[in-house]
Symmetry: C2
Subunit: 512 residues, 2 copies
């Protein structure tokens, strides 16, 4: 018992820091108590992935990858598939960095991806947004992306901003990449992840980061932007240009998410286990490549297997199949003890309704408890990845707070069991409302929703009877009206604007 | 690998039966892969509960309980607390029945509570209902309860009907108990659980069951109605009349749910662990009593700890605290390997909105994965247990299907990993859409939502843009208009009506 107490209390204090404000949840709470795969099953998935890499390999490898992998013991088959020998893969897993920290641009925003520490993130690449005024789906713009970043900046339980919207107003791919990175970095000081369309765009994004960081060295030491790269077009085929981008991003010092996103039943097997083993194999192939490019690369293992609705072949992300598949993939990240990112919280709902809430909570809770370090799509996204709504960030933030509270767990210690306190109350007042422990735990142990309703039906009806969507919309508007962060210095801002046609005007970002 | 395959495939076939229709989920899928408490913590909670029972005991024991417990080695203190020695509690746990099956009144509706088999149930005792026409909260009636039962009867992923509404139109407590049981048993052939207000009402309910079953012996052999009894008024105090009801129900052959429902911060400690240990102790006290009344009793271990919002002292059920507390309690049921029931899915939301979905999914998923055999409140309930809505059953049914799919798990076997199939596809067509395995798994592996939306934003908008609540309301109306089950024979019905003033008219139940 005493040992239990020491472990749990220490964990809490260390995670929060000794003089941090009292709060019930915090970034980096340890997950990993949900074990969808038993030990034998984890081993079977691992062995299956090694076998696929060694005997089937991947097609469409780019020359620099072929050169690196064959120099390390791999070989290319006559029909052009690149084979990864078991020993090479195992060595790369063993040698991969486990000390990856994603930095923010303010103290306390660091995301430590080691162990089973859990963090919540937006996610996306949605082409559309639900207009907060009209309630209709429309093409997304750079301004929408900036607004999403500002919301995430202000919402407590979202720890990381993954570029959620595709800026459809950008005139060309380079302008899109540049304006995407700018909108994200202007909108939030939390760590930002973006995808980069082609290798030639990496220098422009790196330069922008260096300007903001105050130099390349400062950025490389504490990088605040990650490149997300889908290096494969499943099944078991490299995406050539994306691989070149991955290589360029690693060489530029960006942390990288190595993402495989097959769709069960379409681009990966219809069986959950088959889809999982393929995703693990594909992600490991990217990990090997990244490690051969730079052994010190900050690489994030990001198998993000998706699911197709087999009746239509269309992608769907809200079912139990998606939730358990992703939880299994997250657990494989723990099996390897690698910094791991998951996709969870894709809903097929078009608005923040009961379907939206249930589908998101199921998937995010299971991925988190399975031990994923960084859960993208945990907020904001709707419509099977086809749409974002701003009110959804606000709605989902409450959900994430509750999920994080379950990650914190029961915390069994002599003090928390409190047998003496129970006896004292039973022999005295007969209730715990006035017990000193109750008041003390009010803030330290309990998460309160920001917009979640806890009124009586009578009070709720009397006060307008709004559902969560309506309250989220109100709150999103309030935040957007009042939160104008200045996370990019004036000098850097001028320098960026001198180099690129920035779509967000100085007036829009409050620097005019 | 071969061993894996044998275990999993056998499990699936046995659970479904060899000639059952192909379906992706079924009642009794095995949970237990979420372990909120580690082994030491489970032991600490158990030891803490034994210590409370042995040294603090419970007050307000009724004479028959004092007699039974003291005869078995317990003793009453000078201030009237009944102490349960450790050996007595341990013996009762060891000797309790683990083969409890809750019967329905149609083949295939049996609920086997052994092992970690998971089942979903309504739950309640809500005084109010949201009128499906006006959308306003109002007092519930017998007719509402009957409608709720009919909905549950028709909804695939709800396996059990726990009396969800308090029939406020009943003129007195006996009429309420009788009409409640009648409305439930008329509305659904699934196993029904009700509470019984006082011991003197047990014979009337038993008689009704005997009439429906075709005799007392038939009912006792395959009981289709459980008595739910909150035998304590926490902290650590018996509810005298409820204990007498518990005794009478056991003697009448009813399965019994032994329920402790303290509220963390009000009637149990504010710490999650303290609330858990008290709930376990209180529930075990009931278990001992039941076993001393009848060693062959079908007893369900049902610690159902709740949570108060410490800012107001009001009960709230939608937070992460509630979810993790209940998951811990469910896991203690698995620690004891007892038939276990949990409360999960209480939402504080007033309508089926995003809060409703997220709060329910989080709590139900964690309780299920923690291994609870019967999850009451998993559907239908709203407003911190103060209200039910009929559309909520329909909305929640989809959620339960998805959760059950995650319980079914990843199922890693040589066949599901399908390495050869992956190689074949990669060297051939390049996608899995046309692969024979894909078609085969379309029904056997995938759950499709009944009303959950998977359309494109464009199609969804073009077809009316309804949220899940609106679609659930439509579907609930359709079911209620078309589903008129006749689960009570005409003769039994006449006999019941001859003995009691039944509020539901023959016209209302379709027998006129």
């Amino acid at each position: 018992m005493a040992e239990l107490e020491r472990t749990r209390s220490r964990r809490g204090r260390e995670a929060r820091g000794s003089d941090a404000p009292v709060r019930a949840v915090w970034p980096g709470l340890p997950g990993g108590r949900f074990l969808p795969l038993d030990a034998g099953e984890q081993r079977a998935v691992h062995e299956g992935a090694l076998s696929l890499l060694e005997t089937l390999g991947l097609s469409q490898a780019i020359p620099s990858m072929v050169a690196r992998v064959t120099a390390a013991g791999g070989r290319q088959t006559a029909d052009g598939r690149l084979l990864f020998p078991r020993a090479l893969v195992e060595d790369c897993i063993a040698g991969a960095r486990r000390d990856v920290v994603l930095h923010g641009r303010r103290d306390g925003l660091e995301i430590d991806l080691s162990g089973a520490r859990i963090h919540m993130s937006s996610g996306g690449a949605s082409p559309a947004i639900v207009d907060i005024e009209t309630g209709r789906y429309r093409d997304a713009t750079t301004r929408d992306l900036y607004d999403a970043a500002r919301l995430v900046d202000a919402l407590e339980h979202i720890h990381h901003f993954s570029r959620s919207l595709v800026a459809r107003d950008a005139p060309d791919p380079l302008a899109m990449d540049v304006n995407t990175a700018y909108a994200c970095l202007r909108g939030t000081a939390k760590h930002v992840s973006v995808s980069i369309s082609e290798p030639g765009h990496v220098p422009a994004i790196a330069e922008m980061c260096h300007l903001i960081a105050g130099g390349e060295r400062a950025f490389r030491e504490r990088p605040f932007l990650t490149a997300m790269v889908c290096h494969v077009v499943p099944p078991m085929r490299f995406a050539s240009e994306a691989c070149a981008t991955l290589e360029a991003a690693v060489l530029a010092g960006f942390p990288v998410q190595i993402i495989s996103a097959g769709q069960a039943g379409a681009t990966s097997p219809a069986s959950i286990a088959g889809s999982l083993v393929q995703a693990v194999a594909e992600t490991l192939a990217g990990l090997v490549f990244v490690r051969l490019v730079d052994p010190a690369a900050r690489a994030i293992f990001a198998p993000k297997p998706l699911v197709a609705d087999l009746r239509t072949g269309a992608m769907c992300g809200g079912g139990g199949e998606q939730a358990i598949l992703m939880a299994g993939a997250a657990q494989m990240g723990r099996f390897y003890d690698l910094p791991t990112s998951s996709i969870a919280g894709i809903t097929d709902a078009k608005v923040p309704d009961a379907q939206h809430g249930a589908e998101k909570a199921l998937a995010v809770a299971l991925a988190a408890h399975a031990g994923s370090n960084l859960i993208t799509q945990s907020c904001g996204m709707q419509a099977s990845l086809l749409g974002v709504s701003l009110e959804s960030y606000v709605a989902d933030n409450d959900m994430l707070g509750a999920i994080l509270r379950t990650i914190r767990g029961v915390e069994v210690t002599e003090e928390t069991l409190g047998l003496a306190a129970i006896a004292e109350v039973c022999r005295g007042e007969g209730h715990f409302l006035a017990h000193p422990q109750t008041y003390a735990r009010m803030k330290s142990d309990y998460v309160y929703p920001a917009i979640g309703d806890r009124r009586s039906p009578r009070d709720w009806e009397a006060e307008g009877g709004l559902d969560l969507r309506a309250r989220a919309r109100q709150r999103a508007r309030e935040i957007l009206a009042g939160h104008h962060p200045q996370h990019v210095g004036a000098e850097a801002d001028r320098a960026i604007r001198a180099r690129h046609a920035i779509l967000l005007s100085p007036e829009e970002v409050g620097t005019a």
